[in-house]
């Protein structure tokens, strides 16, 4: 090829390169960008085998103007906190009684010894007449208290901000804390990417703490030594997915766990070893990318779920043939 021809080829290629760059730049503008090819497809995960579903939704209890933030079933009644109010009502929503509490409650624990309301950085203890007993010590700037649990002697406070569980006496004295760490590989410590960090004490007095980043349930002695755990990170129905699930838990009388997940919202029941027993509520009943409902259950296995996205208490009763 002669020099002139090569010069033209050079110019044409340079022009093509500039055109490609400019066209690519223009095609990556917000209104021209192609759909995200890496989007995680979760549509198929919403399908749950009907055989697995053990409960059916029977009733909703509206909370009216109250913005609920935590729910507990105890003493045959439902206890709900939100805004600056605690509401105690029957399981059918009857005879609601309202009590004024400090504003901004986030969690709740009802025991014989009293009613404990968790705030972002501290716990407030009331008696059953809803008289203020004591405001416990502030846990500091980094604290984000997400849930409370108790065994009648001690109160366990899940602190997502500091990624630890603080142990209190019933009088509000700090007895210690633990971060879930141990020398074994299992005791990595609590991985809490968001303010979803729950714990529960079952009827046998066992303390179970969710390690949400590991998708694990960890059993601790009452002074914070790990005794066992199970974990299941999976896209299948029997596992947990996302950054921090299960976001909320409660226990049934037989020690089974009721788990509530965020993102792909679903409520499930597991036995103590982590075997999936059934599904209480499938994702199609909840808002897409929703918050994990706070859950509690009664002696008959009725599950009460505080749906934050709809601001109602949703009641799921076991199916008749269960």
């Amino acid at each position: 090829m002669k020099k002139r021809g090569l010069t033209i080829v050079v110019l044409v290629i340079v022009l093509v390169i500039i055109t490609v760059i400019v066209v690519d730049f223009l095609n990556n503008r917000p209104d021209r960008r192609s759909a995200n090819p890496y989007a995680l497809k979760v549509e198929h995960l919403k399908d749950v085998d009907p055989e697995l579903i053990s409960h059916k939704e029977t009733r909703n209890l509206s909370l009216g103007s109250l913005k609920g933030s935590a729910l507990v079933y105890a003493e045959g009644k439902l206890f709900v906190v939100g805004d600056s109010t605690l509401v105690i009502m029957g399981t059918d929503g009857s005879e609601p009684k309202q009590f004024e509490i400090f504003p901004g409650p986030l969690s709740l624990l009802v025991q014989e010894q009293g009613i404990f309301v968790g705030y972002k950085r501290y716990v407030v203890q009331y008696d059953h007449e809803m008289k203020l007993v004591k405001q416990w010590a502030d846990l500091g700037d980094r604290a984000v208290i997400t849930n409370l649990a108790g065994n009648g002697e001690k109160v366990y406070v899940a602190d997502a901000g500091n990624r630890k569980v603080t142990i209190y006496s019933q009088e509000g004295d700090v007895l210690g804390d633990f971060e879930g760490k141990s020398e074994s590989e299992a005791g990595h410590g609590f991985i809490v990417p968001s303010a979803n960090f729950d714990l529960v004490v079952n009827d046998f007095g066992e303390l179970w703490v969710v390690n949400p980043g590991k998708h694990a349930m960890e059993n601790y002695s009452d002074d914070g030594r790990m005794r066992g755990f199970w974990e299941n990170a999976s896209f299948d129905i029997d596992g947990f997915l996302g950054c921090c699930n299960p976001a909320r838990i409660t226990v049934m009388e037989d020690g089974s766990f009721i788990t509530s997940e965020k993102g792909l919202v679903r409520i499930k029941i597991y036995d103590q070893s982590g075997q999936l027993l059934s599904v209480v509520a499938s994702p199609d009943l909840f808002k897409e990318e929703g918050k994990a409902p706070d859950v509690s259950c009664d002696e008959k296995g009725v599950v009460y779920a505080l749906d934050f996205d709809r601001n109602v208490i949703r009641i799921f009763e076991p199916k008749a043939d269960e």
Binding site: L6, T7, V9, I13, I17, P30, Y38, G213, K214
Partner: protein, 438 residues
Amino acid sequence: MKRRVNMHRKLNMQKRIPGFFILLFVIMVSATTLIQGQQRFPKPEFDSGYVQPDPTSPEPRSVALEYFDVFVLLAALSLASWLAVRKRSRKGLMWLSIFTLIYFGFYRDGCICSVGAIQNVALSIFDPAYTISLAALLFFLLPLIFALFFGRVFCASVCPLGAIQDLLVINPVSIPSWIRKTLGFIPVIYLGLAVLLAATGSDFIICRYDPFVGIFRMDGPFLMIFLGVTFLLLGTFYARPYCRVFCPYGVLLSWMSKFSKYHMSITPSECIKCKLCKDSCPFDAIEVPVDKAYRKPEVARKNLRRFVLYLALIPMLTLLGGWIGSKSHVFLSRMHPDVYLAELMISQPELREDETNLDIQAFLESGDTFEQLVEQAIVIRTKFKKGGLALGAFIGLVLGITLMNQVVFRRREDYEPHKANCFSCGRCMDFCPVDRGT
């Protein structure tokens, strides 16, 4: 006796130095392994079949290893300077460029890089919230400092972008000077635009359109691989096309190199004007001896008149460029994603409901209000008004100086490397038949 002891110590030191560096290297590599081995938390085992997107930038390195990269850069620049200026070894320069291609290209995935560091420096100057790392700053400054003393030794054998092209120069052709000079103006515009976009926080276009990163990482979007391969194919007959037609850092290096005191020379002693060097240079960077006709009084007078005219044009071109740039600020500001998004949401409000539009959905999820976005867009547009003015003035100024340089003839008796355009690759030295002792 004392002198002998000193020499003995010196010899011992020389023996120890390689050992010390090997030890240092081993420590650094071990440190990296440890740092990389400790994850923030164990990744859960998912088996979903989901294919994760490849990261667009390499994983961050420990600070110690970033400084090790700076050390390698400094060592490579020093060695390249020695090979080009003192040793005059084309072969040495080529082997060094193979090493840097492997290290900075394939091992370091083309990042960190002096070319892209322009943007970090620009952003750090104009955005007080952004702090440039010392390593990035040194990557920007060191090649320029070396160019000021020894010419473009960075281009010769330290830059991986240059190295990969240089190794594929097969049958270079020379194209007409006026086309070369016209194409050579593209890097000036690219530099100005890249600085403007980086300074306004809009985009890092040099990195985004680095054509060889996809090849270095053996992965990348089809478009970037296509661009890289196209550049390499073009480079087989139009040597180093990226360096000559696009590289914005080359503009800065050429300015520095113009003033280089110890630039490599073609011949080690007296030039015999055999023209072999001119034929050997694939970059048309050899200046020929100036024709005596230019020294004639009538030609000199004519050139003087043109020189004065072009000199007078410089401020006019600068002002005109500044005016055009300032007037273009609305258009230019749309390159910033926030401005584009704000305009889009004003002109097409229905797009807010479009769940497939990732940018709008990401904005809505951010929690910011639309009013905040518009306010932000107005602030950015104001920055573009000043930036557009500066960009236009810069382009006008460079254009004026380039025109003026067309009529400036310096006396030159021998064939010499064009200090600004010469990549110090050493091919001409290799072809020069004159011996050192001649």
